[in-house]
Symmetry: C2
Subunit: 471 residues, 2 copies
């Protein structure tokens, strides 16, 4: 990871200045170069230092994006797509300078197709805006990363969230997209069908490519029916192993868990203090079931039996929206609770993911590392997916602590990889995890680089992110 | 399509002969050049004429495949991977000659990971063999194309089947694969996790690439719990529109249909005659629900209400395996029934797929075409996916009828594409649909070609299939 070691790439100074002049003529007030705008567009939400672009252009249409890309292609100038700037891995940084394309003005829901359970949106629509728009339709869009991110950005990082165990990630929920390629051509990645065998899966190639292959300017997303009944509950266990085993068994018997989130005892203490709650400081599962009334009741019955087998405490189930929101508060406040726990710290985001059979082992070994390295590092986990966030709370001016956090993250990611897992379940590679991408994928990283080179031969699309071939 | 117009590519005669000599030394009796073997390995199951390879090598390990590929790479000789030879689009043909790699001896299930709901198999394992192996584990692998295909081949064509509406296609059910690349290196396409954001999605790029980017030598597949209760039923409607609308509404209200298959009235007549059944010759839905006992009963109740709204007849539900098998017989016999209906005909496989909101319209316009062009063309449809097979039964020695079938398929595929659909929902592009791939994808086909060129610069991997760059 090397928290301190940020790559800077060579700048194409002449090209950048020329491109800005040309774009200024074409886009007038849509183009900004003042410091305030530049800083706003390299806001990384993390420990990764900002690397500013040289200009920001606010695109309004796919045609705008094509025009901007063509100018940048002519002068070989980097292009960095920008949504809400909530990347956790430096996704919007400009290590070689260049043009940030802000997509927030492309914020319309273009159509909702109730019969097909899909909708067409512009990339600047956020997930919350889409769900507000859908209110009354009986449908919703499930993917819920921590931030109220833009849907374009979520597709670009292959984002997921708390109900991925049931509804999938962006990978499963993007039907097709319009993407502007590095030469300025716009491509529709697939038909609007539930399945296709027509050639290479360009949709899935673009989902998760983090702006390094093209810029997403329109998305067709799968929608889901709002279930008749939603029930949420909290179940506490004596050990993380027991909590994980209850989760594994529930999935084995085919329970359609909508959410199953783990907080370790440290994280429970933190939310108790932050939100004035009184949960026992024990490993705790936050659960949610979706279905018909009979179906949900059946799920609750089956899960309760499973939880009892693993010593899980009594579960109180909540049906009303208000009671459920109150129950989920502890989970939602986790991030703020941890920052409040240690004033002045930075939370170093991690998101290793392993096969769930290895999760308990991975979690307990990682907790041991935190102890050994004297780090405060609470855990929140999407356990149904084998994905967890253990977040070292680090004082960035303490060089020794930073070094220990680096060691911790190194061990964490290498352990996950050794367990047939990944260094990133949902945050993406960005700048922060490039080294681990190579360790995880080996030959695969070479193949990714060859695809990058074929599609973006001048390396103008979000350079310095994910995988590079000329760096 | 041009049923009659089959592409032949230039042969690298010297390279082929040299590669065979070298491979003969390395592989001895594993290499075959006798006519019988060659013919067996270009068996296309379709109207597409056979194009034989020059040799067949029976690979036993990933290392074997790597060794074969390296020799072929050295001499720039085409490689055609071979599973069960059940491609419907000429996938195993050798239009430029070359080496067929037979993967049937790589037929072991390597592990079943019950906790992770996945298994690791070699590419020659067939779907039926896997499910026999899983007997007693409480798990099953759902994807069921018409043939008992090899799982490697199914991944290569992004296959699906009757229960895709519930369980997804190979796209959703391949976790990771080992693929031998055109330079002989083996790559693991991803970690064994339920999700990942680590770089480009190589798994999904390889799924559906039809052997044109690499050869699959190991697959990790998702497994599913065998449901407690399975109920199947048949429901007849007055019109195809009503049958489609019942399907759309059932999906909108979130019914987790496991199977929903349509037979048009002509197809029902054919199976009646073939299998001695007595169904009314009406558009008929074959349905199956999976779940707990209470869950399935609830699904049946909801579907019955929906069917009644659209004039669907009484449904008799069957729970026992025997009764269900009897009920599904009509669906399973569809292909044989149509061939028996018109002795000596060839069934020209089609598999257009559209958004389900457009399905009724697409079906009825296509039926009109069949009438207008005086073709006998029954319909079997995976209606929950918007995918259907309308199969002109053609006497191939009747040039006029062949020409009318070509016209019919042209109209069908262009209609599907115009409706935001695809020319192939599950059979793949192969040789047969290359022209439609370009019409469907436009710029996207160029991008596919650039990926092909980057990964396989000498065009040795199954040349003449899917997308070409040097042809």
């Amino acid at each position: 990871m090397a928290l301190s070691d940020l790559q800077t790439l060579n700048r194409n100074e002449d090209g950048i200045q020329t491109a800005i002049s040309v774009l200024k003529q074409q886009f007038g007030e849509q183009l900004k170069t003042s410091q305030a705008y530049l800083e706003q567009h390299a806001h990384t939400m993390t420990y990764i230092p900002s690397q500013l672009p040289d200009a920001v252009v606010f695109a309004r249409t796919t045609q705008d994006v094509q025009d901007i890309v063509r100018v940048c292609a002519d002068y070989k100038v980097p292009i960095i797509p920008f949504g809400t700037g909530t990347s956790l891995e430096g996704g919007v940084n400009a290590p070689a300078g260049g043009i940030s394309i802000d997509l927030n003005e492309m914020n319309k829901v273009l159509s909702v197709n109730v019969d097909d359970l899909d909708c067409v949106v512009q990339p600047g629509v956020t997930r919350e805006t889409l769900n507000e728009y859908l209110r009354g339709s009986g449908l919703f869009f499930p993917i819920d990363p921590g931030a109220n991110a833009s849907l374009g950005g979520m597709a670009a990082t292959r984002a997921s969230g708390t109900n991925t165990v049931r509804y999938g990630t962006m990978r499963e929920n993007v039907v097709t997209m319009t993407v502007v390629m590095p030469d300025g051509r716009a491509v529709k990645t697939a038909s609007r069908t539930r399945k296709t065998s027509a050639g290479y899966d360009l949709t899935k190639l673009m989902v998760g490519s983090e702006g390094t292959l093209g810029i997403i300017t329109e998305l067709t997303l799968r929608l889901h029916g709002i279930p008749d009944q939603i029930s949420a509950g909290i179940c506490q266990f004596e050990t993380i192993e027991n909590a994980c085993n209850a989760c594994i068994l529930a999935m084995q018997v085919g329970l359609p868990l909508a959410r199953i989130e783990l907080l370790d005892s440290l994280q429970v203490e933190m939310v108790n203090q932050y939100s004035g709650l009184t949960h026992d400081p024990k490993p705790t599962l936050f659960l949610e079931f979706h279905g018909t009334e009979a179906g949900v009741n059946e799920q609750i019955e089956i899960f309760t039996e499973i939880a009892n087998d693993f010593g899980g405490g009594n579960i109180q189930w909540e049906q009303t929206t208000e009671a459920r929101n109150k129950l989920w508060k502890a989970r939602h406040d986790a991030y703020y609770a941890m920052l409040a726990w240690r004033k002045g710290c930075n939370g170093i985001a991690t998101d290793a993911c392993v096969p769930i059979s290895r999760l308990a082992e991975c979690l307990s070994e990682t907790q041991k590392d935190a102890q050994e390295l004297d780090l405060v590092a609470p855990i929140v986990g999407h356990v149904g997916d084998g994905n967890f966030h253990i977040t070292p709370l680090v004082m960035m001016d303490d060089a020794d602590e930073v070094a220990r956090a680096e060691e911790f993250i190194e061990r964490l990611n290498m352990r996950a990889i050794a367990m047939e897992g990944t260094c990133t379940g949902e945050h993406g590679i960005g700048q922060g995890k490039r080294r681990f991408l190579r360790l995880e994928h080996g030959v695969g990283a070479d193949i990714m680089a060859s695809i990058k080179k074929a599609i973006d031969p001048d390396n103008i699309m979000n350079p310095g992110k994910v995988v590079g071939y000329s760096e």
